[in-house]
Point group: D2
Chain length 353, copies 4
Amino acid sequence: MSNTFGRVLRLTTFGESHGEAIGGVLDGLPAGVEIPFEEINRQLQRRRPGQSRITTARKEEDKVKFLSGILEGKSLGTPIAFIIENTNIRSADYTHLKNAYRPSHADFTYEKKYGLRDWRGGGRASARETTARIVGGTLAKSLIPEVQITAYVYAVGPLHLNKIDFNPNPEVIDSNPVRTSDPEMAKAFEQLILETKKKGDTVGGQIICVVKNIPPGWGEPVFDKLHARLASAMMSIPAVKAFEYGSGFKGSEMFGSQHNDIFNEDFTTKTNFSGGIQGGISNGMPVYFRVGFKPVSTLLQPQQSINRQGEIIQLKGKGRHDPCVVPRAVPIVEAMTALVLADMFLLQKINQP
Amino acid sequence: MSNTFGRVLRLTTFGESHGEAIGGVLDGLPAGVEIPFEEINRQLQRRRPGQSRITTARKEEDKVKFLSGILEGKSLGTPIAFIIENTNIRSADYTHLKNAYRPSHADFTYEKKYGLRDWRGGGRASARETTARIVGGTLAKSLIPEVQITAYVYAVGPLHLNKIDFNPNPEVIDSNPVRTSDPEMAKAFEQLILETKKKGDTVGGQIICVVKNIPPGWGEPVFDKLHARLASAMMSIPAVKAFEYGSGFKGSEMFGSQHNDIFNEDFTTKTNFSGGIQGGISNGMPVYFRVGFKPVSTLLQPQQSINRQGEIIQLKGKGRHDPCVVPRAVPIVEAMTALVLADMFLLQKINQP
Amino acid sequence: MSNTFGRVLRLTTFGESHGEAIGGVLDGLPAGVEIPFEEINRQLQRRRPGQSRITTARKEEDKVKFLSGILEGKSLGTPIAFIIENTNIRSADYTHLKNAYRPSHADFTYEKKYGLRDWRGGGRASARETTARIVGGTLAKSLIPEVQITAYVYAVGPLHLNKIDFNPNPEVIDSNPVRTSDPEMAKAFEQLILETKKKGDTVGGQIICVVKNIPPGWGEPVFDKLHARLASAMMSIPAVKAFEYGSGFKGSEMFGSQHNDIFNEDFTTKTNFSGGIQGGISNGMPVYFRVGFKPVSTLLQPQQSINRQGEIIQLKGKGRHDPCVVPRAVPIVEAMTALVLADMFLLQKINQP
Amino acid sequence: MSNTFGRVLRLTTFGESHGEAIGGVLDGLPAGVEIPFEEINRQLQRRRPGQSRITTARKEEDKVKFLSGILEGKSLGTPIAFIIENTNIRSADYTHLKNAYRPSHADFTYEKKYGLRDWRGGGRASARETTARIVGGTLAKSLIPEVQITAYVYAVGPLHLNKIDFNPNPEVIDSNPVRTSDPEMAKAFEQLILETKKKGDTVGGQIICVVKNIPPGWGEPVFDKLHARLASAMMSIPAVKAFEYGSGFKGSEMFGSQHNDIFNEDFTTKTNFSGGIQGGISNGMPVYFRVGFKPVSTLLQPQQSINRQGEIIQLKGKGRHDPCVVPRAVPIVEAMTALVLADMFLLQKINQP
């Protein structure tokens, strides 16, 4: 059950990093939806490793193959299954980990939970699992074409934009390898990532996502509040440590007289500290939220670790890893957002006469 | 479906603030569990309004009545239903809201979603709904007695403790009306809340929760990662805007070489930036997380608002409201944490031979 | 989870026979639905014991009290909770069962499953639990007013109507205490039940349910086929042993050339062996199905049984029990049918553009 | 959601008959389970078309390919995905159906539900979908090796065994192409099927399944009673019209004094009208149930039908179809039974201290 996301639009994902394939099954997409094949490929390319010098050199072709649920380019209303085969696998890079637990990795916890683990390439805990989310999320997005979902890198390590960009431009974002909305800061971000990479180190970062054109009424209190679903979606992405929407933690420092969003006569609000959500339901204003990612745990510098026998060992990351995940995580954040919103859209159809 | 929380241990809540009763049904609690009647009452008292001069003057008796699932003080394995009757209701306080939408409230969004709303006392969007979570969470807690869950107020508005207290003392926390772990800061917090109240204003705040004695292996990747479930639980609490665990947003500013938690020989770690969770599964170290609450939207000072016809009106909060929610939210955070953990505990039983 | 029924319209029930109350929570009923208070009471009266000389003499007032989800007679879109208090309880009638297991009852299995059981009045396994289904089902029915659901007794013990009545008349059905659609057979059925009662024995029976005006398109293959949902609903009713729809077991004896339903030009079919369902989806023809109930296990004559220690004992049923459940099960079958159909109706809304 | 079966052990299936592949994802199988590759192939062979002269001549290789969740022959605790590629497809056989609805088929209802349908080989409504259930069910079976699940053909059209075989011998069953437990009747059944086939007709049938060695305590009242789950599972299999367990419809004709199962001193019962289930929970006695299948709708003789425009047409089945489904349905019944039982086994682990 833990590998299925969604209430009525449900994505089940499967696959280990070095297994046969990564894939998913999207159940609940209504019939007659035009399948956005090109857009799916475009989004897979945005997530793909090996895009630029700031991402891992690992090459994955990441070509999706659809197995079911589609006829003549349209959804049938039946489950859409798809796979992305794992090519360019170098499991030999990981044999030194068969008996070792990397610090701040899932090696130790998977083994404690399951009694065994797939040590090759991180197994199920590898971020490669998110390719299935890209496919599922882009399919979901096609249900709600009028909604605009735009994510961008807000911070890399200690560097960040000097303010939230509430009108991010997708073209600007994709014009720089870091995927930020400010071309100036893009250079600084890139510089920091490259320096970090040179040291064999990694660095964290933050992504902001802005969503426009959500009509009022989406979100299902009390437990499936729109922001609770978004938080659940974001926190399921590997390396995510933090989520806030609207005013977020900053809002917790404020007074009600500052924080309340006063209505205009057209029911929009003058400010948007609410982040487009009140009582767990969209109010028609833009929804925005911030997601914090930790630095990648696999370093290409030696570090102390431990083996199954409890012996302290020295470990040096092999394999091909990103110095910073946020550039490639931008489309993942968008995909998970689309899954949440399309699901809430369908549920709200039930409420309408 | 949106009023049920949990996978195999499931709490369904119901009730509007000024309806007959608030209540819940806890399904999936194994049979033979001693029902902690006294502890439930104690926790309800902690959440109850009217406890001190910094909470609302509204008096609610908040006496829980169990309807099913219990025989001779023990759980039967069947659903445990319970209600808390709504007494001391003053719906007349809300008649001015029948036709008006308060800023940053759920009035407008509930009406857009459902076409109608219960305008009395906030209806389903009232935080009074959380009384049912206290009962359900305290029942859940009795399944995992060895786990220690301790929440406390970390910040009130712009004031905050100077560091996270990783060993909070429950007695100290309950010895001050703000429920913080630092008696010195308790006074400053209280002072700020009183000043805020005097102005008819409200103020936000933050709660930190520290959980000890979780064994390794709890949490269900990839979508029910332990922190994803915790985030989902916390974001479902009224007024919550932000969640982070372990290093959180701060961790996104760090480098991997700083952030990785190096193992000791006993598989504990020297640092705990991971917040006790790796790959979505507990690792045996303490789990800790931070929750940000916005300032309460209902002010007892005049503010501009709007009515159903789109006319700008002046509104002054009546009713009895808290100037700051965090003192009363401490037991709610603990209850929701217990629901998540007991659920993950039961799921992990499935994995064991 | 096992006490919740439905996908998007979900009824959670709770309560033991001799506990404080029986009740339920219906989540997912859209807002704005007129609550059919009178109809709910009427249906409760149909299910109520003590209606006639062929039902148990036990008197239960069975007055429902709504706790939430309703304002000014309309649904709010929030969960509707309700309780029926257990009055007229005579637990003393059951003290002889504290240590004994009745044959063909749930006494032994509940104790094996849960380690303990509520021995008073059958506890959770009592058919009294179905009062909550009556309330939930009647609420669900109000979502689909155009659909006609009519159940009636088809057989009592070895006696049965000489053919299925595809146009059962609700007034005729309620004009006889057995609730059958044939006034002649009603007398024979009643006679058999009275004779059975006189002997302290019990007798089984069958109910047929005919549903008209279901539009084509309801049902969710492959696992939530309309008939699979109906079967699941019926088999959850106490004492049910068998379910068939359309041609049923008889159809398994036929040849395709006889069994296929040939289309008319208006897409209705000349015959209806399909029972209104093809491939798990309604086709617009009437849906009909048959449900078999075993004889009640509690006899008012002595029978051999066993106690917890494995000693053979003699048992004579005390308490107040029905000699035949089917007359009172008619509204339960209708209620469960309504829950299934309203759920499928809501799910089909999702498929429509 | 409708393509996922199970509570904590969940099989999601996908695929259309003439699409790329049929497949499934099994989520919730605990880690460390030895994958029964050979047994899976054996069961697929039992279901495969083209086995004998009484099944369709269509050849499907039905070779399963596992994509995830397995390492070194053992389950990882992560989702196990698998596909069976669709080979030997002759979609041209179906072009005459693009615009026509076959009688008693899902053609009309799928189109009404979804607005479009895959007309090639029955699409999602094809029984080919059940290959995925064979794989999932055989995997599930490996969790509960001590449980013996044996299904066999009880009836073909009007012919049936003269009594239920409560000790069916798997070797005998597989020694005849009809898969019945009585070698004498096997010949009569085969004869009838061959005659039916010669006429271009089809015939229905019944399967009985006997399950031994289920410990007491499996099944989750009130809605997931063991027999309710079994009914739901069986009714989801294509062509199934009827389900009964234990005494079934026959039991509804009996009196309580006949029907009650009297205990022996070891808590077994002298009779087993209960079918091994009381109050929805297994009691340790064998569970048995009967499933009725309608005759296949596709005839190889001309019959009247209709096209999308409502014009009456003559249709003659092309394609390769079974004259009787029950021989090939035997392993499907067993597989679905295994899925239910393994799920209930896991849920019962939660109840144990």
